[in-house]
Each structure stands twice: as structure tokens, then as C-alpha cells.
Symmetry: C2
Subunit: 207 residues, 2 copies
Amino acid sequence: MARKTKQEAAMTRESLLVAARSVFSRQGYANTTLEQVAQEAGVTRGAIYWHFGSKVELYLALLDQYSTYSSDIVQAAALQGGGLVDIFRRISIRLCEAVETDKALREVMELSLFKTERTPELLAALQARQKTEQALLNGIAEVVRRGMQSSELRADLEPLDIARTFLAFQNGLIYMWLQNPYSFSLREIAPAMAEIFLKGSTPRPVS
Amino acid sequence: MARKTKQEAAMTRESLLVAARSVFSRQGYANTTLEQVAQEAGVTRGAIYWHFGSKVELYLALLDQYSTYSSDIVQAAALQGGGLVDIFRRISIRLCEAVETDKALREVMELSLFKTERTPELLAALQARQKTEQALLNGIAEVVRRGMQSSELRADLEPLDIARTFLAFQNGLIYMWLQNPYSFSLREIAPAMAEIFLKGSTPRPVS
DNA sequence: ATATTTACATACATACATGATAGTATATAT
DNA sequence: ATATATACTATCATGTATGTATGTAAATAT
């Protein structure tokens, strides 16, 4: 076949990633064939093996595009300043908005959450992503510690426990929504969720 | 082959389910062959097709064994009485204990959460399970409504939002733990988590 | 201007899983 | 006592996916 220019090659690589996202998120990782991905991108499997080397590498390249998405949001929300309570509220709402708005992000999340089997071979490669998750947790725990020192958060619980609870909250809600996207609106429930995390579900005595 | 008695047949069916749980949870659904399951159970694939008809049916039979596990715990915790706050606390703690203690339950949860791709063909069959989840949500929402009427829970939020938040909480934590079981103890964090859900993460003014 | 590399397409070798079919010996029904 | 249903085993037919090896024509390097 006629050799493409570097720019053209970069474009096929891009379109392969787009096609992979589309087909993987529709059919799941194990259940899609590289032939299907190649067809959707308008090339043959040879192009995939040239650019990515294997099915696993293609998948990982797809995930890597979104690996820092969440922590970027957390960073941005933290840098914006304001009280700790405001920061937490912002993080929740921004994350929910992002998932509900950004279709590509949503497809990749659905793919990695619901449509990829953690098989032994994939597990090793996915360990790297777990470190990202760990860093996110530690970052939040650090924010909690600052909040305790400034008396904005209660000091009678472990910072790490609070951070885990916050993340569990957040991920659990997104998970629930992705599982059945049209049963409720993420953006609309986000404030209530943040409110419960911060103030609790029982009535507060008037101060 | 020599025909088995009904009891013996029931036993092979049982051992097939046990083997399926073991192999599926190690290798994932798509990645295990019925040959492997049959070998681990000490029979041939024919036995699987005889008892279950197909790979999908075997998988569903495995999940069905545990379909009411969660809602049973919720029911039991609710019937035990006490204040609404106590009930919620009990539900959280019981669920966490169950996951951490019962290996079979854990394996099935890991399988369905991390090691089964939601492919279009499976999705139809899994809709039935979603209804279980929906019923669980509605049940909790009903408990919340009662809690509002008795002023044990705050009445300025939607009952369904509170219920969703509780479930998100709960599932998110279990999801996080299953993803990395040894990074923390579920049973130990459960009380803190329940405390945050009920009282919030910010300090309460003294009443 | 020529040599070499690139960016794929094509073809193939291998492997393997599913489901279907046929066979079989015993348990159970009558 | 005989007939039939049962609970499988053994075998095969088919489809299909991955990875690899080879071919090739233009882009790029020199």
C-alpha cells in the first residue's frame, strides 16, 4: 500500500483510538474483534498492529488518554480556593457534571467499569492505574487534614477514613448512574449528596 | 456412561456451580472455557450442557444463588427494630461484615463487578437483577420516609436522594475494598462511614 | 538520484471454544 | 421384566480470533 505521510499516519492512529472507544464501549473488550475496530476506522488490522502492537496495548492507549481526568478536576477545584467545605462541594459537582456532559469520558468509564474483565494478563497493566487512584486518595486525605486543623472538618475521625468515605460516595454514585443513566440526573443529585456528606442525613441542632 | 441417581446428579450440579464460581472468579467470564469448569468439577462439558444448557445459563444460575443476599440483610436489619439511625448503622456494618467474611459471596461479587463484561447478550438477562436493585432502593427510600416523619432524618431533602446516596455510599465502599482488599479493613471502617452518612463530616454545634 | 524506511494491506498458520450429535449404561417407571 | 428416560461421555463440525510473516509503494533521508 501507498505509504502515508507522518501527519496522515497520526490521523489513522487517532481514528483507531476513536474507533476502539466506540466499539469497545459498545461490545466490551473481550467481545470485540480487532477486525471490527479496523473496519470502523476504515483500515485493516495491519494498521492496528503497526501502531499498537497488540489488542491489550490498544486498550491501554485508550485508557491512558483519560488517566488524569479525575485528578485534574480535583486539582483545579482545590486551587480555586475558598473553604474546605466549598472545595469538597465543587469536586463532587464538577465530577458529576463531567461524567454527564463528556460522552467520550463516559464511554471510557463504562468500558473500564462494566465492559472489561479483570483477567490476570490485564491486571498487571492495570496496577499502574491503581497507583493513580491511590494518589487521588492520599491527596484528598491531605485536604481533609488541613480541614481538621482549621476546624472546618470534624477531628474525631481518621482523615483517611473520611477520604475513603468521600471517594466511595463519589465513585458509588457515578457507578450507580452509569449502570442506569436515565433513572436520575447526576448533576441534580450531586448537591444533595455533597450536603449529606458534609452535614449528615440526620437533623442538626440549631447552633 | 452409567446413569447416576437423582441425588448423584444433584451433587454434580452442585459441584459444577462450585467449580464455576472458582474458575470464573479467577479468570473472568469470557476468559474461562467450559472445559476448564468441567475439569475442575471432575466431569466433561456434556454435563454442563445437560444441567444448564449454555455458558450464559450456568453463569446466571451461579449469580441467582446470591441474588437476595443483600436485601435479606436489609430486611433482617430492619425487622430487628430500634431507631432508624440504628437500622442504617446495622445495615452498613452487616453488609461490610458479610463481604469480608463470606468468601463465596466475595468471589461472586468480584466476578459480577470486575470479571464480567456487560455485553449486549448478557445485558438482557441482567435486567432482571437490576429490578432487584431497584426494589432495594425503593425499600430504603421507604425507610427514609418513615425516618423523616419521626424526625429522625432531616426532611429538607428528597427521600429518594437520601436513599441513593446511602446505596452509593455502601456500594462504593465495597467496590473500593474489593478492588484492593488488603489496603484497609471493611469492618473497621464501616462504623466511621455510617457515622459520616448520619452526622456528616463537619463538626456539629452542641445541642 | 538512489537507498532506505515507513505505513500499512494481504495472506496465512495456529489455536481454540462453542454447540450439536450420537452413543451408552444404568436408574426408574410401569 | 421390560421400556423408557436419564445423566452423562466422546466425537465432530464449524466458526472465529489472534498474531505473524510477507508484500509494496510512496515518503523521507542522504
